[in-house]
């Protein structure tokens, strides 16, 4: 059981890894599909994403390139938000990992946003674990009944 919860999105795209890598790493391209940024794909490089301010958060995501292995692996830290914000603007100290695997007809692209840790660091929000799965199922049933 892990202390963090991750969001995973994956899909096979009909392009070569090199092409997808360019879209994931060119600052100008990233601005077009993700957010304005000053990204450079060099390990150790610090950069920011800029989005709309929310509550007492200025909308800046502080990042650092943790891994860049073209065209197969890209990982950066993702820190920002505020304790005072709910949902999208809430505090996060997380990691985003992009994995590109050549497959027949294109590339298997996988994004994992990991590090949704809850205060105290002891709370394991693990919806995938049997215990939490059951809890959530049960809540779903109750909601349907209610």
């Amino acid at each position: 059981m892990s202390d963090t919860h991750a969001i995973t999105i994956e899909k096979v795209l009909p392009y070569k890894p090199e092409k997808i890598w360019r879209t994931l790493t060119s600052s100008e391209m990233v601005a077009r599909w993700l957010m304005p940024n000053d990204f450079v794909a060099e390990v150790g490089r610090r950069f920011n994403f800029r989005t709309k301010p929310m509550g007492d958060w200025d909308g800046v995501v502080d990042c650092e390139v943790l891994a860049a292995d073209p065209p197969l692996l890209l990982r950066y830290s993702w820190k920002g938000g505020s304790d005072a914000n709910p949902a999208y603007g809430s505090r996060l100290n997380s990691t985003v990992t992009w994995t590109l695997t050549p497959v027949e007809g294109g590339t298997h692209l996988k994004m994992v946003h990991d590090g949704f840790v809850f205060p105290g660091n002891r709370f394991a929000f693990d919806a995938m674990s049997p215990g939490w799965g059951r809890v959530l199922d049960r809540i779903g049933e109750l909601t349907a009944e209610g």
Partner: protein
């Protein structure tokens, strides 16, 4: 008492940060409805400690009480975990949208 979404989220997370309290919560969820006395019997935790955890769970909106004579029964409040689900849901939506943008851009630059 109306709490902001942020306060609700923090409250739920803090309440469930305690492993013993979380175990109590999971047990209530698993069993559907449990009397406080039943919770004490089946665990190594003392009666005052169980009462304190139940109070915290109730105050955070995670469980509901039903009085039946001298007994109080507890069950999971259906919307108790909603603040947690919302938080992750927002990010999931965010990434789904960005992923679509990425695909569109790849197509445009073919």
């Amino acid at each position: 008492m109306e709490m902001t979404a942020a306060a609700q989220l923090t409250n739920v997370m803090k309440t469930l940060a305690d492993p013993t309290r979380r175990a109590v919560f999971e047990r209530i969820a698993r069993e559907g409805e449990v009397a406080a006395t039943g919770l004490v019997k089946g665990s190594k935790v003392s009666q005052p400690a169980v009462s304190q955890h139940l109070r915290a769970l109730r105050d955070a909106g995670l469980v509901m009480e039903r009085r039946d004579g001298r007994h109080i029964h507890y069950r999971v409040a259906p919307k108790g975990l909603a603040p947690l689900v919302d938080w992750l849901g927002h990010y999931r939506t965010f990434w789904n949208e960005r992923f679509e943008n990425l695909e569109k851009l790849l197509k445009e630059t073919e």
